[in-house]
């Protein structure tokens, strides 16, 4: 019974990149379980393997050791079943497609019918507050707007699992707050499982049910904090003692990771 709610299950996952000079140990002995409906944030200094870890989950990188299952299958099988939506660290929009065309890309590939494509594109655009920009080309949008389009693109095909690599990294504080709130609601309503990379402590504390703290060389998990906050969050909550306490614990964890250098 418990097995069926496991979305990601990794056991001693290792990832070593063979490079020209010396091998890079990007991930070392990663043990991490993610359950259905979890919101997991990966936080840690640059180069600690956050991107590498979600790329392994997404089957964009093959682990060089250990074992990992996604929805009970190998990452490759899960990918072939289109089990997840991936938001890259950069927007990765197609310059020759309009905003609408970019949103329809996954739907075209998955063979969803035309009328439904338009409906879902409009819906996803509304979710990131960009209604009215359908006919614009990416270069006509600011960097933050482009990133929001790329988030919307991952939502169009209703994946149950979202892998997001610093999706809000390029946004200003206010838009970031708005999107955090928006995104929290979306997650709460849809019961999606989210793996979320961030460099922002308040963001991790506000959104997550589980915060995974990583440290570099080799990239490893040094702490996993289960959030004591209630499932439903509001932006005001960020002033409460529980929230500040959680932020403090994350900061301490990060500091401990850095002190290995």
């Amino acid at each position: 019974m418990e097995e069926s709610t496991r979305v990601v299950e990794s056991c001693k996952v290792d990832l070593v990149f063979e490079t020209a000079d010396s091998p890079v140990h990007a991930l070392s002995k990663i043990d991490l379980d993610i359950n259905k409906g979890d919101f997991v944030s990966l936080i840690g200094p640059s180069g600690c393997g956050k991107t590498s870890l979600i790329r392994v989950i997404a089957d964009l990188e093959k682990p060089t050791g250990g074992e990992i299952k996604v929805n009970g299958f190998s990452p490759e099988e899960a990918r072939l079943k289109r089990a997840y939506g991936y938001v890259f660290q950069s927007p990765a929009l197609y310059s020759w497609r309009t905003v609408e065309g970019n949103l329809k890309l996954p739907l075209e590939i998955m063979g969803i019918e035309k009328a439904e494509q338009s409906k879902r594109a409009a819906e996803a655009l509304k979710m990131v507050d960009l209604t009215g920009f359908e006919k614009k080309f990416p270069w006509q949008l600011s960097g933050g707007m482009q990133q929001r389009v790329s988030i919307a693109r991952a939502l169009t095909f209703y994946p149950d699992l979202l892998l997001m690599d610093e999706p809000f990294g390029a946004l200003d504080e206010i838009v970031r707050d708005q999107l955090n709130e928006h995104f929290h609601k979306l997650w709460e309503q849809t019961q999606k499982t989210v793996v979320f990379v961030t460099h922002s402590i308040p963001e991790a504390a506000y959104l997550s049910t589980k915060i995974v703290i990583m440290s570099p060389r080799p990239g490893k998990i040094i702490d996993v904090i289960d959030s004591p906050l209630p499932k439903k969050r509001t932006l005001d909550m960020r002033e409460t003692p529980e929230f500040l306490d959680l932020s403090h614990r994350i900061r301490e964890g990060l500091r401990a990771g850095h002190s290995y250098d």
């Binding site: 997404a58 089957d59 964009l60 990918r79 072939l80 079943k81 289109r82 997840y84 939506g85 991936y86 890259f88 950069s90 990765a92 197609y94 310059s95 020759w96 497609r97 309009t98 890309l105 996954p106 075209e108 590939i109 998955m110 080309f137 990416p138 270069w139």
Partner: protein
């Protein structure tokens, strides 16, 4: 903006005027030896101004003066029936039609080769060297073989010439498209992978659109080369029509004015073809949202 246009008008006309002056001077200089020789033989009185006059109005000059070429162009373009063997429009049409057929064949061949090379690793190793080797054989050596060889099995007229054009122009297209089809960002390929896109979806939705800038760059080069191929194809073995044939008969009979007219028509055609290709490119770019 206005001053810029005026100044480019001024600079273009300056260059034209300068060229004309040099050309007229060169005509006198190059034709003078023949003329002086003739004067001496026929014991004609001559001075410099007669020499100048005569050297700009010879029947078969070594170097015709610009106005002679313009008169000849006028005569052979506007004063002839289009179907006449003396009409440069007729000859131009013969050349341009094999140029277009050759360009189409070369374009398709080049694109297919590029698609193969990008998708099949063994083709990358086995075909690419042959493609490059094919271009090291001078076209002047291979053109007569193609014309004569195909003529022997009864294929004459437009097709052999088009094949020569295709032989020349598939090369830049194949090389450009290999580069273009490989141009997508790794992150875009990863994105397609997360959607579990098929090979053909990857091609039509990513590689092909990403390669259009490369496609047009190589099209512009090869359409001009295709014209050269058609003209070269008209040189050997007595082709009777086309700009190449005009060049050849012109040089048989010392009709230098005719040669120059044909050359000018050929270069105007080449410039027009490249210009039309640029227009097409602009149209496609507009549809693809390129920032102009």
């Amino acid at each position: 903006m206005n001053w810029l246009r005026t100044s480019s008008f001024v600079s273009i006309s300056t260059v034209l005027a300068f060229t004309a002056v040099i050309w007229y001077a060169a005509a006198v200089y190059l034709n003078s030896a023949v003329l002086i020789d003739k004067y001496e033989r026929h014991k004609v009185e001559w001075d410099f101004s007669k020499l100048v006059d005569d050297s700009w109005s010879m029947d078969r000059p070594i170097m015709p003066a610009p106005h002679q070429i313009i008169f000849d162009l006028n005569k052979s373009i506007f004063k002839q029936k289009i179907s006449s063997k003396r009409s440069l429009i007729y000859h131009g049409w013969v050349t341009i039609s094999s140029t277009m057929v050759g360009f189409a064949m070369g374009g398709i061949l080049g694109i297919l080769l590029a698609v193969g090379i990008v998708h099949v690793p063994t083709l990358n190793k086995s075909v690419l060297p042959w493609i490059i080797a094919s271009q090291t054989i001078p076209i002047l050596a291979i053109a007569p073989m193609i014309i004569v060889g195909l003529g022997a099995i009864g294929v004459t007229g437009l097709l052999p010439k088009a094949i020569i054009s295709a032989y020349l122009c598939f090369f830049p297209i194949a090389i450009g498209m290999v580069k273009g089809l490989r141009s997508p960002d790794p992150i875009h390929l990863d994105l397609m992978k997360t959607y579990n896109a098929s090979k053909s979806q990857n091609f039509w939705k990513l590689r092909w659109p990403a390669s259009t800038p490369f496609l047009f760059a190589s099209f512009k080069v090869s359409i001009a080369i295709s014209l050269v191929g058609a003209i070269v194809g008209e040189l050997p073995a007595g082709a009777r029509a086309g700009l190449g044939a005009r060049l050849l008969t012109g040089s048989y009979y010392g009709q230098t004015i005719q040669i120059w007219s044909a050359l000018i028509v050929a270069s105007v055609l080449a410039a027009t073809l490249v210009f039309l290709m640029t227009l097409l490119e602009k149209g496609v770019q507009k549809r693809m949202g390129v920032r102009l």
